[in-house]
Amino acid sequence: MIHGSANSSQQLPQSSFSNVNVSNSPLVQKSLNSSGFKNILNCFGIKTSDVSGVQKDFGVSLKMMESFKDVQMIQVNQSKASALAAMGIENASLALVMQSEEEIKLLKKRLKEIKESTLDKKAIAKLLAELGISQNLDSLVFTDETGGLYIIQSQFENL
């Protein structure tokens, strides 16, 4: 049996909502019988038969849906975190936003090119000049041996 309660939501701003009892809500009954809704409940490990109640709030805080920002492309693992710490770089001071594995490969390739070009001082000077970086080259390029990731520490924002 589906039943609900007329209560307030602690998660969402009160001004946007009015709560209703959903005991006889056709929307809820129909939703619970829809394949889409069942798929969603299944993702949470909930069987329709286990549902004891549904509370309905009109509206939603779109801030809640900003949870999409939690969907991360890359997680900083311990080894990378340690490597960054060893280089004196706080996690908060470096952010790489990747959209796909292809972009990661592209970045790694580009950084590999930068590393290789450090063998030729003139080439790296030209490359960095084109990127608008004019600091001492020796102080710019660091290598994270654990992850194969090469990081230009300062002026990274300029990239």
Partner: protein
């Protein structure tokens, strides 16, 4: 303990008007709890997809199978499209409670 005191197992957000679609003709449902973010996408044509993102592990499951970063990108794109083409008062939030 009353429902007012307990926490829902999932919060599911959809259009209050079940016939309403997004500008491209698709339908979406957003759901979340402390562990997962789920997006159900039913295009006007094509295959219906359910994206389930695990907040702790960072893994994504798409229609029951492990997905890739490309799927995460798609999920974010769809979610952004959903938010950008909706107003707060068009939604209804269903807080789901279970027997346990």
């Amino acid at each position: 303990m009353t429902k007012q005191d307990s926490k829902p197992q999932a919060r599911i957000v959809q259009f209050a008007d079940e016939t309403k679609t997004l500008p491209d003709g698709s339908k979406m449902i957003y759901a979340e709890n402390d562990d997962k973010i789920v997006l159900y996408h039913q295009p006007s044509f094509g295959v219906t997809m359910t994206y389930s993102y695990d907040r702790e592990t960072g893994k994504i499951i798409v229609n029951g199978k492990e997905g890739t970063n490309i799927d995460k990108r798609t999920m974010i794109k769809l979610g952004s499209y959903f938010i950008q083409n909706s107003k707060e008062d068009e939604f209804v939030t269903l807080n789901v409670f279970t027997k346990k």
